[in-house]
């Protein structure tokens, strides 16, 4: 655990050193702020009710695009510059390495969501807000982010080219984000339900509405673990016979 934290902290620091973190924070707060408060059609004042739905709706899409941009370099860059050999010949296992990378972006997302707490406080002060729904909304957003980070880490481990990693993460992400839901609508019965179960939007919406269901938690944790184990498996592959 200590090793994981050391790796995560180093990575988080390099996000801030390279300005990437600041750009991400400004863009995220800018986007969500604009659509939550100023956009008009669908913003807080337009709705005329004290709820965070407008914010979570925007965060759902912004994070979908931002997270691959943050995760794309995690493993790809290390592989490209050879530093992966340096780290993995220190007392660090492949799994610790992958978890460290995952947590670094997760912490950055936590920071950016913490900076949106003033939205919550402001809305709560102008009307009666459903506190439960607001908090579960945050939890849902964190879970969704974690799922996309894990997919991003997996995509990043597949290639030493960051652009490829970015596009791959978006490609895998769009299935969970949109396509599974759309495909499911064309099927009825069990098949439709099964495909719909893979769609992140359904699970996200049910959590942001204020209901934390074990089914949803199982879904998010499955995606997270699957992505990270996949990334580890890709790293371990160097021991088989391929040329890494």
């Amino acid at each position: 655990m200590r090793t994981i934290m050391i790796i995560a902290c180093r990575e988080l620091r390099s996000f801030f050193d390279s300005l990437l973190a600041y750009i991400m924070l400004i863009a995220f707060l800018g986007f969500t702020g604009f659509f939550t408060w100023l956009f008009g059609n669908g913003d807080v004042f337009f709705r005329g009710e004290a709820s965070m739905d407008a914010f979570f709706g925007v965060a759902y899409w912004t994070l979908f695009f931002f997270i691959p941009a943050l995760t794309m370099r995690l493993v790809a860059e290390e592989r490209n510059s050879g530093t992966i050999e340096l780290v993995l010949t220190k007392p660090v296992s492949d799994m610790q390495f992958v978890w460290g990378k995952f947590l670094s972006v997760f912490f950055l997302i936590c920071i950016s969501l913490a900076l949106t707490l003033p939205y919550y406080i402001t809305i709560a002060s102008i009307g009666p807000i459903d506190h439960g729904a607001a908090w579960t909304g945050y939890i849902g957003t964190l879970l969704m982010s974690a799922a996309y980070i894990s997919i991003g880490v997996f995509a990043s481990s597949l290639s030493s080219n960051q652009i490829v990693s970015f596009l791959l993460a978006l490609l895998i992400g769009i299935f969970f984000h949109l396509l599974f839901g759309m495909i499911a609508r064309n099927f009825t019965g069990t098949l439709g339900n099964v495909i719909n179960w893979f769609s992140i939007s359904g699970h996200y919406q049910s959590i942001t509405r204020g209901v934390i269901d074990t089914k949803d938690l199982i879904f998010f944790f499955s995606v997270i673990f699957l992505g990270l184990f996949g990334a580890e498996a890709v790293l371990v592959r160097r021991n088989l016979s391929s040329n890494h």
Binding site: S18, T89, K90, N239, S242
Partner: protein, 309 residues
């Protein structure tokens, strides 16, 4: 801590990068790993440092197998990878802190260790610069500093002196020799003079197989067999002298080194010496010797002989 490599084989696709290699390095020994590019040096080192698992065979470091407890082995090894990869966006100090912490050095010891490394590796003036801004020589020093920071029992250095200027090379060699007195050191190079100057034992590897193993003088003896004498004979016609030398029983070949100076290179047959015969010849003919010098076989020649296709 000893390194024992037992019959390791590593394949990249159909090609064998390392083919049934076995050797051992004892504590207090500096082993030089020599070979042409692509001979399997780096692959073997990657296997020892637990980065790549070999397809076959076993490696023991300090009695622990790489399959048993790779984390413990990694913690006792200081490794400088081939191209010296570093986090170029980090300042030297922060980078060393990161490495120290990942090795589990206690918090109150971290700064002490970093200060020691900065001094040993001569990084005092550069310690607050970003690694990306450093010249190649200083980067190499940072690479060495990170390999030494946890005071490892075993040091694995893959071409440690590439990119350094002659002064730095001498410094680094002295450093390695100093460290090598108590620790186990494995270093690779394709500069022969370097290996000869630093190492107690030399291992030559070619196409994934070990082709020679021994001290520099062992290797020389092995390759010698043939005695080569630089011979100067005056008092006679150049042509006549050369012919007379050629007719000697033990002589295989006579080469004229410089026209008009009566200087020859006399190659004796394997395992035989022609010094006495040459002397006797001179006495016989009334010539006189101006020079009779045995020529040492150079390590380069041995290397070329062993690794030529």
């Amino acid at each position: 801590m000893d390194i024992v490599v037992e019959h390791i084989t590593k394949r990249y696709g159909p090609q064998k990068a390392v083919d049934d290699v076995s050797f051992a390095v004892r504590t207090g020994e500096i082993l030089g790993f020599l070979g042409p590019n692509g001979a399997g040096k780096s692959t073997t080192m990657k296997a020892i440092t637990c980065y790549l698992a070999p397809n076959e065979g076993n490696i023991m470091v300090g009695g622990i197998s790489i399959y048993e407890d790779p984390q413990a082995i990694k913690n006792s090894i200081g490794y400088l990878p081939e191209s010296n990869p570093l986090y170029t966006d980090m300042p030297v100090i922060n980078y060393l802190q990161f490495i120290a912490r990942i090795h589990g050095i206690e918090k109150n010891q971290v700064n002490k260790r970093i200060a020691a490394m900065v001094e040993v590796c001569g990084l005092e003036g550069e310690k607050h610069k970003k690694i990306g801004e450093l010249s190649k020589g200083f980067r190499q020093r940072v690479g060495l500093a990170q390999a030494l920071i946890h005071d490892p029992e075993v040091l694995v250095l893959d071409e440690p002196t590439t990119g350094l200027d002659p002064n730095q090379i001498v410094e680094i060699r002295e450093l390695i020799r100093k460290i090598g007195k108590e620790k186990t050191v494995l270093l690779s190079s394709h500069i022969l003079a370097e290996v000869e100057a630093t190492c107690d034992r030399i291992l030559i590897i070619n196409k994934g197989k070990i082709v020679a193993d021994g001290t520099a003088s062992d290797l020389r003896k092995r390759a010698e067999g043939k005695e080569i004498l630089k011979t100067g004979i005056h008092g006679g016609e150049e042509k006549a002298v050369q012919d007379a030398l050629r007719d000697l029983k033990n002589v295989e070949m006579v080469e004229l080194l410089a026209r008009g100076e009566n200087l020859f290179e006399v190659h004796s047959k394997v395992g035989q010496s022609s010094a006495k015969a040459i002397f006797d010849l001179c006495v016989d003919r009334g010539w006189y010797l101006t020079q009779l010098t045995p020529t040492e076989t150079r390590l380069e020649d041995i290397f070329r002989e062993l690794t030529a296709n």
